[in-house]
Amino acid sequence: MTAMLRAETLKLRTVLMPRMMLALAVLGGGSLTGVVVATAHHDGTAVTGTDLATAAAQPLWFLAVIVAVLSTAGEFQHRTIHSTLLQIPRRGRLLAAKTLVAAGYGAVLTAAGTIAGLTVGLLTMRLTGVPLPGLDLHLLATIAGTIVLGALWAVLAAGLGMLARSTAVALVALLLWRFVLEGILPSLITRPDLRPWLPSGTADAVLSSRADLPWPWIAALIFTGYAAVLTWAGAHRFHHWDA
């Protein structure tokens, strides 16, 4: 298993896209959080530590999703899955290695972007003379939650990539689901309260303390369930696929 994990990591390190996304996460995380702080300062509204930690969360997760989809669906697109399967014919183990490495990459990317965001945000606050937020347990939990969700989004995307076997199909499906279906589905079935229980709704609820949303740990469990279902579906299709 160690060799498989090392090989999957090397795959990410030897193409440009994952490194580009990591750089973009640091730059984007920093810039977005800086803009949030500057705008709040301009409007005279308060900025909390949680605001700093979550300002760039969704774009960071999306970057992790792109790389995770490429790491699985890309294998089929470039047909590298053939040489991979010759080395590792046990498909379950291969998928487990891919899922773990995707989760690790998602966590690292989200952590890098969040740390960059916090750094730029705190610097901007200091430069503009705004009092700095204190480091408390709630802030630490929010940072940890953001990073864990980055890993889980990557797992979900890796499963979707394995299911779709096409990067374009997987990414379009994900975007359609996130921005169209999750928006209109609750209205279509006249259940507007359904949204927080759908995949991105639960991910958002993990980091929220609003009373009308599911408890963060319940939302985290449900989101993990969505990721597990997609991983299982991808594994099932992969297992029965003739290369």
Binding site: A3, M4, R6, A7, L10, K11, T14, V15, L16, M17, G74, H78, R79, T80, H82, S83, T84, L85, L86, Q87, I88, P89, R90, D242, A243
Partner: protein, 239 residues
């Protein structure tokens, strides 16, 4: 050294029999040509041998074990399925390093093989910029990565220029002379005529002939492998 055995191997895709009850063995220390027209079932057979495709029935084994049951399969069997199995934006050297990491081969083995297949100067270039012949050579390097006792090569001469074909012949002969089992498929019969010791001829998924090439040519009074092939197809023979 390893013995490859196909035992009543069958693969059906709906009503189509890609491989039909194929039973034959491949001996070590020889180059065995696996020959047939396009669509004869060669690639399907080789994919079943290396676990990429599930047989409908029958078995394909290496030293009595299916490929997927081998502990570290690429240490036993080096395979080249086709040349387009490398990420176009990864360098040739990195492609070999990735595969080497999976099978426990050191990075210096990748450099060694790039030298052997004549890609030492192109190793740091992206595979997307390689010619078909260069990708074939990279595919051969990937097959040899873990120094396997058995080689399964699907159309390895595709895209090679005449000098490349000559180089391939010498490489395969050298490997067989070391006692390795070498199974090479091709639909261009003349290409392998000067390379192989034994031949397995298939048509429409069925075995039509197998044995030492010289014996088959003598028995059928054929001057070339092509002549032998068309003669056998016309007869529907099986020897």
């Amino acid at each position: 050294m390893a013995l490859i055995r196909f035992d009543h191997l069958t693969k059906r895709y709906g009503p189509v029999h890609a491989v039909d009850d194929l039973s034959v063995s491949v001996e070590p220390g020889k180059i065995t040509g696996f020959l047939g027209a396009n669509g004869a079932g060669k690639s399907s057979t080789l994919r079943m041998l290396v676990g990429l495709t599930e047989p409908t029935s029958g078995t394909a084994t290496i030293d009595g074990r299916p490929y997927r049951a081998l502990p570290n399969p690429t240490r036993s069997v080096g395979t080249m399925t086709d040349s387009a199995v490398f990420h176009p934006r990864r360098s040739g050297r990195d492609a070999l390093r990735v595969l080497g990491t999976m099978c426990g081969a050191a990075d210096r083995r990748a450099d060694e093989l790039l030298e052997i297949v004549g890609l030492a100067d192109a190793g740091r270039r992206k595979v997307g910029g390689y010619s078909t012949g260069m990708r074939q050579r990279l595919g051969l390097a990937a097959a040899l990565l873990a120094d396997p006792a058995t080689l399964v090569l699907d159309e390895p001469a595709n895209g090679l220029d005449p000098a490349g074909v000559l180089w391939l012949r010498r490489l395969l002969r050298g490997l067989a002379d070391q006692g390795r089992t070498v199974l090479v498929s091709s639909h261009i019969l003349a290409e392998l005529e000067h390379t192989v010791d034994d031949v397995i001829l298939i048509d429409h998924g069925r075995l039509i002939a197998h044995g030492p090439m010289s014996d088959l040519l003598t028995r059928r009074r054929a001057a070339t492998l092509e002549e032998l092939f068309f003669d056998l197809i016309a007869d529907g023979a099986c020897s």
